[in-house]
Symmetry: C2
Subunit: 579 residues, 2 copies
């Protein structure tokens, strides 16, 4: 919608009869010189104005994962399913989700995505905001693990649908047994970033839940990076989910629950003092409802009790009974320093729910057929006052094998028809298969931009008997599963496809990968030894013929002598250390 508004501007400038001229001769442009005279502060000021967040994301929609029709469909499904799972877990309901993709008309370019859940539903008044406004939601300000965190995703999907098909988002919701189900059609006014909606009551058999339908331009693909694979991986990381997927051809795939247990309920925590920046502290002091600094510290932060509060005040030279609003600039800086200097217990870890080693290995065994499995679930650590935990799992096939995905989406280790030599040269064979998860959501795109990928590349897999080209993923029949669970995952873009490279996260990734790598190494080395042996033989059999040929020329040997020479040569060469 950027264009159109940019347009109006232009038009205003054109209104001095220039457009008439322009229209007259074709295809000549109105003289742009005239349109854009040398600027001065005034002329530039005329053009300065606010950009709505919707306009911004419409123009930069690749930031939200809607850059190509192929990605759009998957991104939309991901955002909708994320919301459904979050809602169910918050409501402590075992999720029951239906995802349906259907063609619009007989076109292969337009689809309707429908995602229905049995979550707690959404109260009428909020439906238009939730689906018709970017940067609107309940998760952004809370410190607890959830899939969504920005309040952008599903509205962005709706915005993309509207942009490419002109159709509104359609929502059915029922907020509990006694609530009247309602139906909404929602458009986004992108210049204002506000919803424009129509509503009516409807009949809906279910007790509670939400269903969202979006028409959009899309491209439907199977296989890697397809919706099937995404949902499969989603099921791996969320064994408590029952999910039914219907593809555009009407094929139905059902993912049954692997467990009857919901993930551990995550609890909301307050910010930890060590994670708070000066500017935030300043703001908190202004906005707190506490009337004394000491109470402020104890009420507004986690892990601060009377004695810690006292220690901080003392160190900062501020009276505990001071009114927080009276704490002035320099005192704030002193207080920040005092907080950083004070030893404070790490924040409670109840706010995150890692998957756990058993479930990771179980999940891998379910999806990857391999020789060897190992997993490591690091205990949570804290970054900027925000707890996070890294988990890694490995599945390794036979050396020389390669991992293939079967039509059923199952990954199987198959024998490779390549000369072993090549494999050892690192020239042939495939890089390992890396599957990334953040808060139990599979990350499908932007692998190369992801801190997880960088950590895997930075790990020296040669130590663990794998081949690894410089600055690239290791080579071999290996699946690497990596999960980060956090109250706040720093993604490299709003599309939440890759993790930003924060040092604390890289470190934990490294440690988790090494932990698994070491155990993999011992397993791999055997196979590796054999291969080396094989390579050595190759060399020998490669050179003997030339040597013998040479011998004949030089010493005119008879057949038996040649035979004898050949044998002895073989022996000697095999013994030789140099090879």
């Amino acid at each position: 919608m950027s264009n159109s508004s940019g347009q109006q501007d232009l038009f205003a400038e054109n209104n001095e009869g220039k457009t008439a001229m322009a229209a007259a001769k074709e295809p000549k442009e109105p003289k742009a010189k005239a349109e854009t005279p040398t600027e001065n502060a005034e002329s530039m000021a005329k053009r300065q104005r606010e950009i709505s967040v919707s306009e911004f994301f419409t123009k930069n929609r690749h930031l939200l994962g809607f850059d190509s029709p192929r990605k759009a469909l998957l991104t939309a499904v991901k955002e909708a399913v994320d919301n459904s799972l979050d809602a169910c877990e918050e409501g402590r309901i075992m999720p029951d989700i239906r995802v349906t993709i259907s063609r619009i008309g007989d076109s292969d370019k337009k689809y309707t995505m429908t995602v229905e859940d049995n979550g707690p539903g959404i109260v009428k008044a909020q439906v238009p905001n939730v689906f018709g406004r970017l940067l609107y939601g309940s998760k952004f300000h809370r410190l607890r693990q959830s899939r969504g965190q920005q309040g952008i995703g599903i509205s962005a999907a709706g915005m993309y649908g509207q942009l490419t098909t002109g159709m509104p988002v359609r929502v059915r919701s029922k907020a509990g047994k006694r609530a009247t189900p309602c139906y909404y059609e929602i458009r986004i006014d992108s210049a204002k970033n506000r919803p424009v909606s129509t509503e009516k009551d409807i009949e809906w058999e279910k007790d509670h839940g939400t269903e969202v339908s979006i028409d959009m331009e899309g491209e439907y693909r199977r296989g890697q990076r397809g919706i099937e694979e995404f949902l499969k991986l989603m099921a791996v990381a969320n064994p408590h989910v029952h999910l039914v997927y219907t593809d555009p051809d009407g094929n139905v795939t059902e993912y049954l629950r692997g467990t009857k247990e919901l993930p551990k309920e995550v609890e909301e925590i307050k910010p930890h003092p060590h994670g708070v920046e000066l500017g935030i502290l300043l703001k908190m002091l202004q906005e707190t409802e506490s009337t004394q600094v000491s109470a402020f510290l104890q009420n507004d932060f986690s892990r601060v009790g009377p004695s810690v509060a006292k220690e901080i005040c003392a160190q900062a030279g501020i009276k505990p009974e001071t009114n927080p609003r009276r704490v002035q600039n320099d005192d704030v800086i002193k207080m920040k320093a005092a907080i950083d200097a004070t030893k404070i217990m790490a924040p409670p870890l109840s706010c995150i729910a890692p998957i756990g080693e058993e479930l990771i290995i179980a999940g891998l065994k379910k999806e990857v057929e391999a020789d060897f499995y190992v997993a490591a679930s690091r205990k949570p650590v804290v970054y900027r006052g925000r707890p996070f935990a890294i988990e890694v799992g490995l599945a390794y096939g036979k050396p020389g094998d390669t991992l293939q995905m079967t039509d059923s989406g199952k990954i199987v280790a198959q024998e490779k028809k390549k000369v072993n030599e090549e494999v050892l040269m690192g020239a042939a064979d495939e890089p390992v298969r890396l599957i990334r998860f953040a808060n139990r959501v599979p990350l499908v795109f932007q692998q190369s931009a992801c801190a997880i990928t960088k950590a895997v590349i930075d790990t020296n897999w040669k130590n663990y008997g794998l081949l690894q080209p410089r600055g690239a993923l290791p080579i071999g029949p290996l699946v690497v599963f990596v999960h980060i669970a956090s109250v706040w995952v720093p993604f490299t873009s709003e599309s939440k496809e890759a993790i930003a490279s924060y040092d604390e996260i890289r470190d934990e990734l490294r440690l988790a990968l090494m932990e698994c790598g070491r155990r993999l190494g011992t397993h791999v080395r055997k196979g590796r030894k054999l291969a080396n042996e094989f390579k050595k033989r190759n060399y020998i059999t490669m050179y003997i013929p030339h040597v013998v040929e040479a011998l004949k020329d030089i010493l005119v040997l008879d057949e038996p002598a040649v035979k004898k020479a050949t044998e002895s040569l073989t022996t000697v060469l095999e013994k030789s250390r140099k090879l």
Copy 2:
């Protein structure tokens, strides 16, 4: 400031006496179970609300390039310099820029960044908005090449400064000879994304210009990814700039103008019909000031004259005199189809200003000492109605050389002390040095996430005689310069560090790289041949000793016989095709 607001929420929940309890025992938390009861639609609704764009970017500030103190300083300098250069070019003023970084107190953690330009200045009323509001600016809605495009950068730098030091942004500006210079101190109210500022008139000797100073937490580094290198690369791509840089130790570096010419003035264009999506078209139809569809098409788009407009109307089955606001849903879809089906001249290219092959090679020669230089400046093409041009330059040293950056920042090809064999195995030596530019701005971070990097990796450099590990940058003493010039560069994040992988852009990159690669190939191959020869000899000399040893054992030869055998063997083996 997310935390603090999240805080208030929490506090509200605490106000039921829980906090008193919590404060009593330490460090136990108020029972989080109590804080987060099982949710239902109502309880969730209470928490749903708008998130201000400032709150969002404060929490996700890595999206803006402020994730680490090391990056923060450079990002701030980049944003300020971008604005200065854009302003000068819009005002057709030869840029004269001063960048100063100074320590705050004797700390190595806090710095003041000051960037002063001789641009047209900013009118008083706009100063607070430009520096105190995210998503506010003049470039977003315009279709012409500029460095800034989002209206985020400099305000984000200010926000980061405020967050880490609590200090406001300080701005001096003078909007022309007759204007009174003014001084502002600006803070951002992040909950509202609005500036809070104080202002006073001041004396300022210069005719016109702007100076911005920001205090921030930072980490000062030299060398690669340092401010020096950024400014150096900036000077390469902007030879018309005169820039004086003063580092925290008071060292002054001056970049003199390489040319007295400003870059060609870029002209603003209207959107091209082929780049317009259904949703946009719909909006334009509603908002146009034209009263007839035919006039609408001619006035609001580029390259549409009477006959093209007529053709589109006919194809869509819409009367040319129809009122645009009357064009209904189905007709809009028909009109979009008609537009796509109609042949329309490509948009004018006057809106972008590539650097050009001569200037690229000149720039490379200035900064990189090598044997061989080549450049290709592709002619602009159109993507989604937006013209863009790809330019590539290569600088190649001697085989076995490696590119080192001297203290003066100059890159020199130096001899490598490595066995040639290793180099040929691709195991040793360094990957090529890739320098990326977008609209004349050097891209310093997120190389691996960038479409440019992917295009370089996807290019088969073995064809051009270079080594290249699978899925990695090629190996060798090569500097690869890549520039994209466009009215709209699709960056992977608001920090504008990497280009998103749009197919059209990848294609052009590939073609430009191949064009240069082919010419590089012919140059490289000679050196390569010799190296192979050398490798062959290595093998031979490697095996002869074993063979001879074997001969002695078997045939009890005397010294002269051994000598003769050795010589003949060497000859035979060298002749042998198999090696």
